[in-house]
């Protein structure tokens, strides 16, 4: 018997197992705090993505102040952090998760992936705390996700600044838009959530967000796996035009409302990118730090969250992490047009974290069906 035949036999043998494998049990309502998963040492292990704010100086300063060493365990993005937390739930690899945002946090809470911390949140802005007020996660930066458009691509006649999302399904935008996929990108996911709210509150009661996504796909919208690919490779209005492989075939993409400010800051107060601030088409994203359920170095991890919220670190978020601070009276810096080119949304989408967690799987399936 040759190998392909063996493989077919193996497949036939494994198939009946599908009925025998016991379905996994869903989490109970209350979460229990797991015992530490490794031997205690002086190192805080942080599960995060490649956050720009974590410069070597910043980490060295933390070590100097507290005596704890830091070891970073990386994931690709916020979704990757959640998935790694889920996959390693029985044997957590880190003490602290940094980078889960408010589209992922509720899922992490439902899966009992985090445990409470006692970090003081007195200095944090009220509007940030409105989104989540529990003790399982502490906000450390924020930003509004919205559509960015290349002003050079708007001629004022045929193609003008869109006044509704439906306009983007018209021929003048055919093949000129790119979106990071909500399946694999957190900005993409946040914008999809915003569209759900947008179309629930528009005048047309017969169509939903997914009708719009279907129309966008039919109008030549491109979908990428991540924000970087969409913004850097396809978007014609950003710094991507200076990178190898730039296509510049899209006039509109999803990024932050302050991205034009960042563009200006790094290009001597000059940019041809701007934001679209239609009501409910933007999403207020907040990123959180949380102690992992089963963490070992809890004291060190708590100290790191406190350090992250300190004035010296958090007020510098706009420059060091290209996100806004969560502290009271936080602003973007005025230098090089950062603040001037940053737009403020008229009204962000309003969808609770609970609803996001409960309906996300369904939305993603609908999105996939609509766009393929």
């Amino acid at each position: 018997m040759n190998i392909p035949s063996l493989a077919i036999v193996a497949l036939m043998l494994v198939t009946p197992l599908a009925g025998c494998l016991e379905p996994l049990q869903e989490e109970s309502e209350t979460c229990t705090i797991l015992a530490p998963s490794r031997t205690m040492d002086n190192t805080v292990r942080i599960l995060t993505y490649d956050i720009a704010a974590f410069s070597q100086e910043m980490l060295d300063e933390f070590t100097t102040q507290t005596g704890y060493e830091v070891e970073l365990i990386r994931s690709d993005d916020a979704g990757g952090i959640l998935e790694l937390l889920m996959q390693t739930k029985q044997a957590p690899q880190a003490d602290l998760a940094i980078g889960l945002d408010n589209t992922y946090l509720q899922t992490a809470l439902q899966f009992c992936l985090l445990q409470p911390n006692d970090v003081s949140i007195n200095e944090i802005d009220e509007t940030v705390l409105d989104v989540y007020q529990g003790t399982y996660a502490t906000p450390f930066d924020q930003g509004d996700i919205c559509l960015n458009v290349d002003e050079n691509g708007l001629d004022g006649e045929n193609r003008t600044m869109p006044e509704s999302l439906w306009e983007l399904t018209e021929p003048q935008w055919n093949g000129k838009t790119v979106f990071p996929s909500p399946l694999t990108s957190s900005p993409g996911r946040a914008f999809m959530v915003a569209t759900v709210d947008y179309f629930e509150h528009d005048d047309d009661e017969t169509s939903s967000a997914f009708d719009w996504w279907k129309a966008m796909a039919a109008n030549g919208a491109q979908f990428t796996s991540g924000w970087t690919e969409a913004y850097e490779m396809h978007y014609s209005g950003g710094y991507g035009e200076w990178t190898e492989g730039h296509l510049g075939d899209a006039l509109l993409t999803v990024s932050y409302c302050h991205s034009p400010g960042v563009e200006a800051y790094y290009s001597g107060n000059w940019t041809h990118s701007t934001s679209i601030v239609l009501e409910r088409s933007s999403f207020h994203q907040i990123e959180y730090a949380g102690l992992i359920n089963g963490a070992t170095q809890i004291e060190g991890a708590t100290a790191f969250i406190e350090y992250l919220l300190s004035d010296e670190v958090n007020r510098n978020m706009p420059v060091n992490n290209l996100m806004n601070s969560v502290l009271n009276n936080a602003t973007f810096p005025a230098q090089e047009g950062y603040e001037w080119h940053t737009d403020t949304p008229l009204k962000n989408a309003e969808i609770s974290m609970e609803r996001i967690a409960n309906e996300m799987e369904d939305w993603l399936n609908q999105w996939q069906t609509a766009t393929q």
């Binding site: 379905p23 070597q56 399946l183 990428t224 492989g245 799987e361």
Partner: protein, 587 residues
Amino acid sequence: MASSSSQVNVHPIQWGVIVVVVSAGIIPLLLGVLRLMQVTQASPIDAILHAFDTPLATEALQFTLLEAALSTLLTLLIGIPLAWSLGRYEWRGIRGMRAFLFVPFVTPPIVAAAGFLALYSSGGLLPFMGLDLRTETGVIQWFSELSGWAHPGHMLALVLAHAWFNLSLVVRFLEPTLAQMNPHWEEQLLLLPGGQSWWLRVRHLWWPVLGPSLLVAATYTFFFSFTSFALVKWLVPGANTVESLLGELGGSAGIAFYRTEASLLVLGLALIQGAFMLIILTGASKFENQHTKMLALHDEQANRKLRGNAPRIQRWYVFAIITITSLPFLSVLIASFRKRAMLEDGTQGWTWTLDGWRQVYQGDASTITLLEALGNSLTFALLTLLIALPTGYALASAFHRLERQGKRKLANSLDIMCMVPLSASAVMIGLGIVVGLLQWFPSMFQFQYLPVLPHVMLILPFTVRIFRPAFTRLDPMYEEQIELLNLPLFRAWWHGKGAFLVGPFAIATSLCLAFSLGEFGATYLMVRVGSWDSLSIMVDQLLSRPKFDPLVMPTAMAAATTLMVVTFTALLVCEFVRKSTGGTDDV
């Protein structure tokens, strides 16, 4: 050849090695499949049918088959004349040329992608020559409009990159056969009725002699193009191979009550890909057996001397290919010294700087220093070598013994079972390790040398491929005579076998080192803690950063340049060892 079966019995240790290797390949996969079945409550057949019913999956499969077929075709079209010229004539520095042509094969795809992007992008060599594969203007746009094909430029860009990658496979398999073929066969055939026309000579001589080598090279080229990931991601925006789609969806797979649809699609796609891979590898194994029989026909040096130097047009062709091969490397090297900057006249432009090298040398919070990454890469490579070389030798020896016992089918079947990790998606292996082994050995992820495990598993099939033909060519008479001398164990092995295997050992060593140095996918799955980063991981980390910081690109390219230089040096050293010990070039 007439050895009794008792003399060639497979040693219990060799059986142990076979069991361990096959288990290490199959168990994580099985655990991954069972986990996905448990999460989705679907059978593999349901999952496969579901995948065929999902446009996302079927489009990826169609694209994968098309790009792999086109890549194979182009690689052969470029590679056959190259191997012909290199194999039949005298060349000064042929070992260096071979080593150089081999470097693309072990270059991390992400480095290659960066190099090709620089070539294809505005200001790069190809647009300068009027071929805009990236933004598809000019002749590409004309062809696109004429044919209705949406992005022919992107496909051509990918196929060219795949040909660059796999060219060395054609050279490695075809050139030794051409070099060692008895030249009198050609002369004799010209006198016979069966050799009177070009087509008849192909039918009666070239195809029977070169066909198996060609098929092996074509099969492996198809295989590596089929599993392409990073090049597709960077060169063909908007398209997915099955492997890249699995990579996108894989993170969500295997988690209970979370993205069940993704788990179902991953299960279906991984099984479809596995089936394709098994068929391809089985084919490769069969062709390879035929290829092995064609080797060692005539003295290579005498053949080359007989024909002398290559005709001018062939010399130009070889040098042109070598020059083209070097272009992506040169692009990477140049990019390591070039930084985006605001010029004095207020416009954006480029300046020449060593800042990228400084930055990579110093490291930062997210990336370790260049020397640390280099140290990790070399450590992984040496450990891989220490494990894979004796294991590959033991496996090949066991399969050879089985063959001598007349159990060729069993030997081939076990050989293919050792290739299972190659046939599986990295996502499935990663999932199997995470959901399976991690439950039993949580501390495993704290083990610094964990990446060595997948490196060994992925390189083993190739070391076996190198040693098996070498064992076949060994005359058992030597071994039998040495046994009569009653020498100590090691000396008996050396005089009976070892001394004849220095060449294959050198090739296997170079392959182990180069492969491990450049390996990315499996390392990425295993390395979670930044301080264990290898050079290839470091390059990816740096390239993935948003490039508003003008230092990102030169820093990444400085790391990539270091990786290229180290890999090329390792290959050259092994070639030197092989040359100094008189090794042959058969693989």
